[in-house]
């Protein structure tokens, strides 16, 4: 399947595109953005997942050449870190609800600056690199969740204060569960996370 999109991945790409557009419809947006928990823990992860699947549909050789052009794994990881942390700012959440440009930026940046580059980089990351990405993500999620739980004020003007507390608890729980899952893969699968070890690549590391 290297080189061209197979029939199978062509159909997957179409399905993915349709799903992306569905998420962007006003009905889906209204429902998913009506609560802070759904906004942060359903809609935004789904957008990242769309980027992840999109990148996996790209043939391996094209992924490699793209990664070289982007300067290797670390620029991709750094872009993903910045973009994902930006959308954790309470202000960014509010802006996505009140400013159509911010909403568009969210819909573009989460798939294409978080999910997509992470997949490109992932196969070239060492175990330590992957560990860095994971632990950074867990701690960010846990700290932010804890902040939302203990915050004496409403941090988002668009969400109820108990919604904020719920979202905080979900984030803490998610980070703990994800951490133990990742720990499990370390013990059982060698810490590769959700991805299989590099099989298609040439075995070189780019960064």
């Amino acid at each position: 399947m290297i080189g061209t999109l197979s029939h199978y991945s062509g159909r997957s790409a179409l399905a993915l595109g349709v799903f992306y557009l569905l998420l962007a419809t006003p009905i889906a947006r209204d429902w998913l953005e009506a609560s802070m928990s759904r906004h942060m823990l359903v809609q935004m992860p789904l957008l990242v997942v769309i980027g992840i699947i999109a990148a996996r549909l790209v043939p391996g050789r094209m992924q490699d050449s793209l990664l070289i052009r982007l300067g290797g794994a670390w620029p991709c990881v750094i872009a993903a870190l910045f973009a994902s942390s930006y959308w954790m700012l309470p202000r960014a959440l509010d802006a996505a609800l009140t400013d159509p440009w911010a909403e568009a930026a969210k819909f573009l940046s989460l798939p294409f600056l978080v999910g997509f580059p992470l997949v490109l980089a992932w196969r070239r990351l060492t175990l330590i690199g992957r560990g860095f990405v994971w632990t950074n993500f867990f701690s960010m999620l846990a700290v932010l969740g804890w902040l939302y739980i203990v915050a004496p004020v409403r941090v988002c003007n668009s969400y109820l204060v108990n919604d904020q507390e719920n979202a905080g608890w979900y984030m803490v729980i998610a980070s703990v569960l994800l951490f133990f899952w990742w720990l499990g893969t370390l013990l059982v699968g060698g810490g590769v996370g959700p991805d299989k070890p590099d099989q298609s690549g040439s075995g070189r590391t780019f960064a």
Partner: protein, 204 residues
């Protein structure tokens, strides 16, 4: 250029770009919430307000523009509120009492605006006002009857009202000061009543 060098270079580029976006998106790492951002922006450039038509606790119709030439403290309430608006009433009373008497009404006025016009008929506004000693002249309690006008007013102030599960509302609560030119020029935390009053006195 070797790949390693390119990698370092592009990483540095991405890092500076990302930092710039954060700096830009948080007003220089100062405003991480929309509420702070609203306050910072008002301080930087006082905002013009729409001239909405209001109805006060006596059913008297007036306009926001009628207050031009005076300093005006504004807060947003709904009279069924059992939590923050109650303390808002006490805080507004405290501010009024901190302003020199000769300026009250002449150079400074207070206005509590209800964003729940359906429920807050003049009778309810009057009850709310009386509970905090609002005289109905220097300090009026009013509603904006026209929904579109109300929304434009809330938008201009940056107030977001969302229904809660108890049939009431949650909203961002603050003290607002409208200048003599009719522009919103200051937004303060509700626990900053004394500094707010000092600011007003300094402007009198």
């Amino acid at each position: 250029m070797s790949l390693a060098k390119r990698s370092v270079l592009i990483s540095a580029l991405v890092t500076s770009l990302g930092t710039w976006v954060f700096w830009w998106g948080t007003d220089g790492f100062t405003a991480f919430t929309a509420e702070t951002a609203r306050r910072v922006e008002i301080l930087r450039s006082p905002r013009a307000l729409p001239d909405v038509t209001l109805e006060d606790q006596n059913g008297k119709i007036f306009h926001l523009k009628d207050y031009q030439g005076k300093l005006l403290a504004v807060d947003f309430i709904f009279t069924r509120c059992t939590t923050l608006c109650r303390s808002m009433g006490m805080i507004f009373k405290q501010i009024r009492d901190l302003i020199p008497e000769e300026s009250l009404g002449r150079d400074f006025a207070l206005l509590s605006i209800s964003f729940d016009p359906e429920h807050d008929a003049p009778a309810n506004l009057k009850k709310y006002g009386e509970a905090y000693g609002a005289d109905g002249e220097i300090w009026r309690i009013a509603r904006v009857r026209n929904k579109a006008e109300l929304q434009s007013l809330l938008d201009a102030f940056g107030i977001i009202v969302i229904p809660d599960q108890f049939g009431g509302f949650e909203h961002n609560t603050a003290l607002h000061l409208v200048g003599r030119d009719g522009r919103l020029r200051l937004i303060s935390d509700i626990d900053k009543a004394v500094p707010f009053a000092e600011q007003v006195v300094a402007l009198l």
